[in-house]
Structure formats: structure tokens, C-alpha cells
């Protein structure tokens, strides 16, 4: 049976991982490649690098990180942040990324999803959706870190990006992100039930039950988390053992 996936996410700026990392024996706690390798060893199913570099003249640094990562990490690598054109997507893939996640640029220019998936294959295109609740059972797509309400309904947008050729949806609840109160399960389920491509739940994980709930109650195909892994609260392996104990199929 197909396993549910656990995906640690690293926020990278100017070549360094931000937010703390707490691995024993790392030579350099800020080196994204070293951290990604550690997650691979723990049994992570994929790793996501989120490039949050603000200044455009430092944008190419992520390419070197992916290049170095692809030498040492033999699980799928996803890169998000900064891809605005098909050419950007292609450069990230050529550097060694397996998937590229597109967020704000997809909202501003939905044709980018269609163009990119036609050129590189939809299996390489992840569309990231940042959603915020605007009423009971209603969520809007937000951009710019949750500041801009696009007015788009999150479920309808998920269906739209699927029809444009998105291979996967990375769904983040902006209400939950950083709270450690767990995923927005109603949002996750609403989107997961509305599309046929895999949905990755993100935003709000504070403990291992949250990860399991994302799959069982949220019906996500994969769960993404950052801080619970970075600060050494749990290893990826512990997370998988917990999910397995809750009856979820995982790769151990």
C-alpha cells in the first residue's frame, strides 16, 4: 500500500537555514545540505527547501544549495520561493530539484502553471496555496505571507490549479502557521476531497498527533512540518513510528 509521506521543510535565506536546528553532531547547524542529509538518514520521504531570500541579488544561492543537495540526498527535493517564470522552474530543476513549488506567481499569472507543467511535466509542479478562514467553512487564498487577500476561494482555486496542470498542492493554513495548534483539518479535508492530485497539509504542527490527524481527519496524502523537527523535539523516525501506531501506512 502507498505510504503517507512526512516532509520536513527548511526555510532558507541567503544560503542558510533560519529558525533553529538542534541536531547532535552537526558541524554546521545552518547548512541546509547537512540538515537535509540528516532528515534523509532519519527516514524523511522528501525534503522541501523554502527559499525566503528577500534580496534578488542573492537568489542564485539556492541553486548552489540544490546542486550540493542532489549529490548527497537521494530522496525527492522540492524547492519553493522565487519561481516566477518557466525559466526559473527549469533552472531549479536543472540544478537538481525534483519539484518546484509556485505560490504568489501562480495567483498573479495562472498560465504559469499550465506553461510550466506542459514544459517540465506536472509531476514537477507543486502549487502552494496559503489559505485563511474568512467565514464558516470558507477560506480565501492569501499572498505575501498572509497579508494580501486575493478574494479567491481556496477550494475553487485548488480545483483550478489542478485543471491547469498542478501535480500536487501544498496547502498551508495561515491561521495555524506557527501556532503549534495543529492543522486546520476542515480546510485540509475540504481541499483534499475536492481535487484528485495529492495534497500536502502544512501549518500548525505542534505534536505527533497533529501529523496523524492531518492524514486521518484531514485526508492529506502527505504532511509537512518544520519546527517540531528543527528543534529536535521529535525525529522524523519518531513521527513515523507514531503514525504507524495510529494505523497509518508509512515507510519505516
Amino acid at each position: 500500500m502507498l505510504a503517507k509521506r512526512i516532509i520536513p521543510c527548511l526555510d532558507v535565506t541567503a544560503g542558510r537555514v533560519v529558525k533553529g536546528t538542534n541536531f547532535v553532531g552537526l558541524r554546521d547547524a545552518g547548512d541546509p545540505v547537512e540538515i537535509a542529509r540528516r532528515y534523509d538518514e532519519q527516514g524523511a520521504d522528501e525534503v522541501t527547501f523554502l527559499d525566503i531570500t528577500a534580496s534578488s541579488d542573492q537568489r542564485d544561492i539556492i541553486l548552489h544549495i540544490i546542486e550540493a543537495g542532489s549529490h548527497q540526498v537521494f530522496i525527492p527535493l522540492t524547492v519553493g520561493g522565487g519561481a516566477r517564470k518557466v525559466e526559473d522552474v527549469r533552472r531549479l530543476l536543472n540544478a537538481g530539484a525534483d519539484k518546484v513549488s509556485i505560490n504568489t506567481a501562480a495567483v498573479a499569472n495562472p498560465d504559469l502553471i499550465a506553461d510550466a507543467s506542459a514544459k517540465v511535466g506536472s509531476q514537477c509542479i507543486v502549487v502552494a496555496i496559503d489559505a485563511k478562514q474568512v467565514g464558516p467553512g470558507r477560506w480565501h487564498v492569501f499572498t505575501h505571507g498572509g497579508r494580501n487577500d486575493t478574494g479567491l476561494d481556496a477550494v475553487a482555486w485548488a480545483q483550478r490549479v489542478e485543471s491547469l496542470g498542478a501535480g500536487e498542492i501544498l496547502l498551508t493554513s495561515m491561521d495555524r502557521d506557527g501556532t503549534k495548534n495543529g492543522f486546520d483539518l476542515a480546510l485540509t479535508r475540504a481541499v483534499a476531497d475536492a481535487v484528485t492530485v495529492p495534497v500536502i497539509a502544512s501549518g500548525g504542527v505542534g505534536n505527533l498527533d497533529h501529523l496523524a490527524d492531518g492524514v486521518t481527519l484531514g485526508r492529506a496524502d502527505a504532511v509537512l512540518a518544520a519546527s517540531i523537527f528543527h528543534f529536535g523535539e521529535y525525529t522524523v523516525r519518531q513521527a513515523k513510528e507514531h503514525m504507524a501506531a495510529r494505523g497509518i501506512e508509512v515507510r519505516l
Partner: protein, 212 residues
């Protein structure tokens, strides 16, 4: 003595290259679209991603068809993903002929009738880590039966000859995920993205002496 990874312009071969280089020791690994280099190589890896009609068209355009067929006749040969599918006679995807090395068809998952054990509908593409059930073969050496490999695909091969099947998987329906005959081994999953077990399979391929 070298390993040629056939490049026909369909997507990114860096992962395949990196993983092979990681296990190949002193053996050089070349990503190449030159038929002469393919002919000169000791071993050949035939990867592929994207849509099979595009892959077949690019292979023809670059004059690589006969080099691939020649390699499949007598060199240790590893097909990956679309590189497995193209070995068969025909694909439903775009209704195109394949290379016809093996008798059989490539068909899309029957998603309408696919359900998980809990009744939930299953998504296509089949993406993620799934268990592979082996028929004994030297390329599985050191890999547990039922080990998980990373898959991304919407189509699967249906060999006419059941004795070709050396790996089975299940996703709503049982399907063939590895075939082997003589010097050819080909897999639907991505060993280059399948962590330790994937590297082990590639290492086994590098050491494989099928004709000995």
C-alpha cells in the same frame, strides 16, 4: 569501461547521474546523447520522465533509437520509469508505438474503479513510496522483499509474458513494477530517489554480470 545515461532531451537527468556516480566508484558515468558513446559504454541506463509520446519522438529525432535497441540486445541495461514503458510495444498514452523489445501494452491506471482498503478513492498519478514484491533476481540483492521505492506515474506496463515480471506492486490494482530478462532490468519506480534501497539497486546494477 563506463556507464552511459541516455539523454534524449526529456527532463532532468541530474538525479540519475548523481545517484549512479555515488555508487559507481571509479567507473565513469556519462550523460550522453551521442549514439557512439552509447555503443562504446559497458553499461547503459535508459531513464525517462514526462509523456511517452514526447519521449519516443525525441528519441527518434536524436537518432538514438537504434543505439538503444543495440544496447538492449547485449549490454547490462537498466530502464527507469518511461524507460521501462518504452521497451513495450504500444502505449495508451497518446496511442503511440514503443520500441517493442518486449511484447505487451502500457495502460493508464483504471482510476474509476480504484479504491483503498478503507473505500477512499485513489489518486492518479500514483505518487510516493510503495512496496515492491520481488521475484528473485541479482538486482534485488541486499534489498528486503516488500521494501518501499519512490514512484511517480499514471501508466503501467502489462507484459504478455508473465515470466518477465520480477517486481510487483499494488495501488488499487496489482501491477508490474519491474521486468527482467537476460541483460535487461527495468523498473517503474525511481531508484535514484529511493534512498538507501534505491542506491543499493543501482549498486547491484553497476556490479551485475548478466552474461557471465
Amino acid at each position: 569501461m563506463s556507464i552511459a545515461v541516455i539523454d534524449y532531451g526529456m527532463g532532468n537527468l541530474r538525479s540519475v547521474y548523481q545517484a549512479l556516480a555515488h555508487v559507481a566508484g571509479a567507473t565513469p558515468v556519462q550523460v550522453t546523447s551521442d549514439p557512439a558513446q552509447v555503443a562504446a559504454a559497458e553499461r547503459v541506463v535508459f531513464p525517462g520522465q514526462g509523456a511517452m509520446p514526447d519521449c519516443m519522438a525525441e528519441l527518434e529525432k536524436r537518432g538514438l533509437r537504434s543505439a538503444v535497441l543495440a544496447a538492449a540486445r547485449d549490454k547490462p541495461f537498466l530502464g527507469i520509469c518511461i524507460g521501462l514503458q518504452m521497451l513495450f510495444e504500444h502505449s495508451e498514452e497518446g496511442d503511440v508505438p514503443g520500441l517493442g523489445v518486449f511484447a505487451g501494452q502500457v495502460r493508464r491506471f483504471p482510476e474509476a474503479r480504484m479504491r483503498a482498503s478503507d473505500g477512499a478513492r485513489l489518486k492518479v498519478p500514483h505518487m510516493g513510496w510503495n512496496q515492491v514484491w520481488q521475484t528473485p533476481h541479482p538486482l534485488w540483492d541486499g534489498i528486503a522483499n516488500g521494501a518501499r521505492f519512490y514512484f511517480v506515474h499514471s501508466y503501467c506496463v502489462h507484459p504478455e509474458d508473465p515470466s518477465l515480471v520480477v517486481g510487483r506492486c499494488e495501488y488499487g490494482v496489482p501491477f508490474t513494477c519491474a521486468v527482467g530478462r537476460a541483460n535487461i532490468f527495468a523498473v517503474q519506480f525511481h531508484p535514484e530517489k529511493s534512498a538507501r534501497d534505491g542506491l543499493r539497486l543501482l549498486q547491484n546494477f553497476v556490479a551485475w554480470q548478466p552474461l557471465a
